[in-house]
């Protein structure tokens, strides 16, 4: 396998990078975990009608299960991040896999609405946090440099994966019914997760390897032991004392409200302006497809030029772009909006692992990232409620579009107030004194970490 990868390196003339590195296996596993973990979340819409038909529950009461799941996943995110730091992402994701299985099985046997709330809302919500939060910091630990490239590839798989899985789920629901579909997805999903976790390693050191982008002169980072735990706690206290920690939660919240309003409201908005349901759904699909480009590019550019400027452009573009919707009346205007707005939207949330690295160096970022996902989750929940609420009051979506713009632009303003990313805000994460690597390292030299080790800067 490694020989094949090395052959590709030679074939494509790769010098600075290599595909013969286990970090890419970790990135692939992260994509699989996200695909399975997020599948049922994305496919919730398919579940509503069968439950209404079978049990006679109202769509609103079923929707409450989704809201509960979203809020539970958001609130549990800091816990997921902390557990990933403390016990390792692999163990945390294994616990998440068990909860995923239990949540799926219980949901498939649900007969009362309160069971749906417990099984899907709480259990599955908590499983989401344990599966999806620790994996990002774990991927980061596999990249000494070029984290932007690793994150970009991971983010692409994250957006394409659920889109594919949702189609498969829709077919499954129609073929075997909702209850058996949940059982099948629960069993197959758990098997896939368990298999993937067999190959997952929390850190390169745990796998007896070195991180991607390590130079021969680099010393090994501390990744285990009792001192690791106490140092981690000490460093997390430093993180809590920085303005950036609190502001980044705020920024992720604002950005997610901004785009959630559009993602939830764009189809009814299009239909209310005379579009057919299929054409309106196509607008959302266009946004998903086009945004893949910037999901990839944003982390890469952030790594190279500094996250602050790239994030500002994304938030500002997301905020200004929605004004196109105020005058959009025809199908082509909606599709023009979809293409133009998807570019900044795709970059909204994907630079956070990079800015964490630039501010906090190589210190474990699980807890920090978990808090940021808490902000994002609550933002998505709020943004999901606003279009319907505004439509009920005003009979239109103009106000919702305005609110989306305001939230995104305030987010852009908050980004301006962040510290420059060229300077690390806390001390360097400790290195182990004597480490010798006897072979040259592929994927190694680009910008050497300046001073406090922040890659890139603005």
């Amino acid at each position: 396998m490694q020989n094949t990868a090395l052959w590709f390196d030679r074939k494509f003339g790769l010098k600075e990078h290599t595909i013969a590195h286990y970090a890419w296996v970790i990135v692939g596993i992260a994509g699989v975990v996200q695909m399975v973990g997020a599948a049922i979340r994305m496919a919730f819409g398919v579940l509503v009608d069968p439950l209404v038909t079978t049990f006679g529950w109202s769509p609103g009461s079923i929707g409450l299960a989704y809201a509960l799941m979203s809020i539970m996943a958001a609130l549990a995110s800091p816990i997921g991040g902390y557990l990933g730091n403390r016990y390792g992402a692999r163990r945390t994701m294994a616990a998440g896999t068990v909860l995923f299985f239990l949540g799926m099985m219980w949901t498939s046997q649900t007969e009362q609405i309160w069971e749906l709330y417990l099984a899907y809302g709480l259990l599955f919500g908590f499983a989401q946090a344990l599966l999806l939060v620790p994996v990002v910091p774990a991927v980061a630990s596999w990249f000494r440099r070029h984290l932007g490239l690793g994150t970009g590839i991971m983010m692409v798989s994250w957006s394409l994966g659920p889109a594919l899985v949702v189609q498969a789920l829709a077919v499954l629901f129609n073929t075997v019914g909702w209850s058996q579909a949940f059982m099948v997805v629960g069993i197959v999903g758990t098997a896939i997760l368990a298999f993937a976790l067999l190959f997952f390693r929390n850190t390169p050191e745990e796998a007896g390897r070195i991180a991607y982008g390590t130079k021969p002169s680099d010393r090994q980072l501390m990744t285990s032991g009792n001192i690791f735990v106490t140092t981690q706690q000490e460093f997390q206290k430093y993180v809590y004392k920085t303005n950036a920690f609190w502001n980044l939660i705020n920024i992720h919240f604002l950005g997610c409200v901004g785009h959630s309003v559009i993602l939830v409201g764009i189809i009814p908005m299009g239909i209310s302006r005379g579009m057919g349901p299929l054409a309106a759904a196509g607008v959302l699909t266009t946004i998903s497809v086009v945004s893949v480009t910037t999901r990839f590019m944003t982390p890469v550019l952030s790594d190279r030029f500094g996250s602050k400027a790239v994030m500002f452009v994304s938030f500002f573009g997301q905020g200004i772009g929605v004004f196109l919707l105020l005058t959009a009346d025809s199908t082509w205007e909606f599709y023009t909006f979809a293409v133009l707005w998807a570019i900044p939207y795709g970059g909204e949330g994907t630079a956070f692992p990079i800015i964490n690295r630039q501010y906090y160096g190589h210190s474990p970022m699980g807890t920090t990232y978990g808090w940021q996902i808490l902000g994002a989750g609550l933002g998505m929940a709020l943004g999901g409620v606003l279009p319907g609420l505004v439509f009920d009051i005003t009979g239109g979506y103009g106000w919702a579009v305005g609110l989306s713009a305001v939230f995104s632009l305030i987010g852009a303003l908050a980004i301006i107030l962040l510290e420059p990313t060229r300077r690390q805000l806390i001390p360097d994460w400790p290195e182990i004194d004597s480490v010798t690597t006897t072979q040259p390292v592929a994927g190694a030299p680009v910008a050497a970490l300046p001073g406090h080790g922040a890659p890139g800067g603005d």
Partner: protein, 86 residues
């Protein structure tokens, strides 16, 4: 890509972290987050109170035209009470 010849002595704390303190409190970051929470709650209360007011008006209208007069929900009254603009 495996690291070889790696010795693992007791990890040493980075000299940079010894005695490192952040003296200033994160007032700006905390303040921005707090302001967002307050403004978001204000927007939600305003919109919620607006919706409540509409619902109550619709019920009164329905009752006056011979429809059934439904009892209002507790959250409608709470939102109207909380919003100074409604």
């Amino acid at each position: 890509m495996s690291s070889t010849g790696t010795s693992r002595p007791l990890p040493l704390a980075s000299p940079d972290s010894e005695g490192f303190t952040i003296s200033r409190r994160p007032l700006l970051g905390f303040g921005l987050l707090g302001a967002t929470i307050v403004v978001t709650l204000a927007v939600l209360i305003y919109l919620g109170a607006w919706a409540s007011s509409d619902r109550i008006e619709n019920r009164v209208l329905a009752a006056s035209t011979g429809g059934v007069h439904d009892q209002g929900d507790w959250w409608e009254d709470s939102l109207l009470l909380a919003c100074p603009l409604h």
